[in-house]
Symmetry: none
Subunit: 247 residues, 2 copies
DNA sequence: CCTTGACATTAACGTTACGTCAGGGTTTAT
DNA sequence: ATAAACCCTGACGTAACGTTAATGTCAAGG
C-alpha cells in the first residue's frame, strides 16, 4: 500500500494529479483510511501506468476513462481516430512552420534572394522542357495536371512557393547531420510532402519515385547539387524511411 | 465604422471574440457610443487582421499583444523562437503517431515476427556485446555460464528457443489487459521462468532483477519495445507480483 | 405610437488538467 | 512535547473563447 506521495514518486507525477484522478473518478485509491488518507495497492499502480501511457499520447482523460472503464470498449477504434487527429495536427503544424518561415523571410526583406536567382533553375521555358521529359519518366496526365496547376498561380504566389521550397531544402541540408531517420529530418520530409500539394498530391509510392527522380534525372540532380552535393541522395534516403514508416 | 457583428463577419470571427479582445486590451474599438456600442474603424480592421494572422500561427494572445504593442519589440526573435517550439511539437507529434501505430499493430496481433526480425536484435555478435555489458550489470560468472550454455545449443535448437520466447512474449502481450495479477499472466510468468532454464536457473530475487533489467538496460528495452511499448514495464510488474506470491 | 425582430450590452459559468496556495488535521521522529 | 513532514479539503488561476441569461437599443412596418 502506498500513500499519495509514495505513489506519485513511483510514477513521476504530483500528488495533486492523484487527487485529481480521484476526483474525476479515473483512479480511485484501493482503500481510504479512517483519517481520510488515500492508500493505493499494486493494481492501482498498474492502472496508473496504463493511464499515463495513454496520457502521453495526448488522449484526453475523459477518453482514457472510457477506454479503461468498460472492457468491451472499442480501444482499437479509439486509437485509430486518435491517430487521425494526430495526423491532422501534424499536417497543420507543418503548414504553420512554413508560414512562420515565410514570414521571417519576408521580414528579412532586404536579404531575400533576388528573383533571378530564385527562378534561375525554373524559367518558364526550362519548365516546359522538364515537363516533356517528366512526362516520359512519370505519368503523363499527372505531369500535365501539375503543370496546369503551376501556371494558374500568380507571379507572387509562384515566388512564394519557390521561396518555400528553398526554405525546405535549406532546412533539410541543415538537418542532414542528424541522419535520415532522425525525427527532425522526418518532420522536414512531412513539410516537403505538404509542399508538393502545390503541384499535385502524390501517393506514398509516387513520393518515393519523385525523390528517386531527383537523383536519376540529370536536370533535377544539377539543381540539387547547386544547393548541396549530397542533398539529392539524402532526400531519397529520407523519403524512403518516411514512406516505409507510413505504410 | 463597423459594429461588432459587421466586423465579425468581415473578419470571420464571432462577436464574442471581439468582446474578448476588448476585455484583455488586445483590440479596443475605435469609438464607443453613448449607448455603449462598440464601433470599429479602418485601422482597427487592419489591426484585427494582423492579430488573426498571428493567432493562426498558434501564438498566444498575450504574446501577440506584446508583438503588436511596442513597435520596438523583437518580432523576428519572437517568430524564431515560436518556430522552434513548433518544430518541437512536430517532432513530438510524429513520435506519438509512431507509438499509436505500434500499439494498434500489436492490438491487431497481426504482427507475426519473421525469423529475421526475431534474430534481429540477437545476432551472435550482438549477443557478445550484450554479454559484456550484462557482466557488469549482473553477476559475471552467471553471465558467462549462461553464454556457455547458449553457445552449446545447435542452430536449430537456438531457433526453437527463440521462437518459444517470442511465443511467450506474444502471449504475455495478449494477456496484458487482464492485469499483472491475473491468473493468466501469472501462468505465463511461470512459463517464462521455466524458459529461462535454457540459460540458467535464477533465484526469485534474480528473476526480479532480470525483469527490472529489461527496463533499465536500453538495449534490452529497445528489443522489448519492438514487440510492445509497455511490455518491459508490464513484465517487471508481473514478475514482481509473481515473486512476492512465491516467497 | 407601438410592436417586433435583429442587434447590442454586461455578467458569469463551462471547458482541460492540473498548479498553487490556504487553513487545518495526522503521523513520525526527536 | 514539539516540530517536521505528510495528509486532507476547498477554491482560485490558467487560455481563449462558447454559451446561456437577463436586459437594453435600433430600424421598420402597421
Amino acid at each position: 500500500m502506498f500513500t499519495v506521495k509514495q505513489l506519485s514518486k513511483l510514477a513521476g507525477v504530483t500528488p495533486r494529479t492523484l487527487h485529481h484522478y480521484d476526483e474525476i473518478g479515473l483512479l480511485k485509491p484501493s482503500r481510504v483510511g479512517d483519517n481520510g488518507y488515500r492508500y493505493y495497492g499494486e493494481d492501482a499502480v498498474l492502472c496508473l501506468q496504463q493511464i499515463l501511457f495513454y496520457r502521453e499520447l495526448d488522449i484526453p482523460l475523459n477518453d482514457i476513462k472510457k477506454i479503461m472503464g468498460r472492457r468491451d470498449y472499442d480501444v482499437m477504434g479509439a486509437l485509430q481516430s486518435h491517430k487521425e487527429s494526430l495526423n491532422k495536427q501534424a499536417v497543420r503544424i507543418n503548414r504553420l512552420i512554413q508560414t512562420v518561415e515565410n514570414t521571417i523571410e519576408h521580414l528579412k526583406g532586404t536579404k531575400t534572394m533576388s528573383d533571378e536567382k530564385l527562378f534561375e533553375g525554373f524559367s518558364e521555358e526550362e519548365q516546359e522542357k522538364y515537363a516533356l521529359e517528366a512526362e516520359q519518366r512519370y505519368d503523363p496526365e499527372t505531369v500535365r495536371e501539375s503543370n496546369r496547376k503551376w501556371k494558374a498561380y500568380s507571379a507572387a504566389k509562384k515566388k512564394a512557393i519557390l521561396v518555400e521550397s528553398s526554405t525546405i531544402y535549406k532546412d533539410m541540408i541543415a538537418a542532414m547531420p542528424k541522419g535520415a531517420k532522425s525525427a527532425e529530418v522526418q518532420a522536414i520530409v512531412e513539410r516537403w510532402r505538404a509542399h508538393m500539394d502545390y503541384f499535385w498530391t502524390p501517393s506514398l509510392e509516387q513520393l518515393l519515385e519523385l525523390a528517386k527522380g531527383y537523383n536519376d534525372d540529370p536536370k533535377f540532380k544539377a539543381n540539387f547539387d547547386k544547393m548541396h552535393p549530397q542533398l539529392a541522395a539524402f532526400m531519397r534516403d529520407a523519403v524512403k524511411v518516411y514512406v516505409e514508416s507510413k505504410k
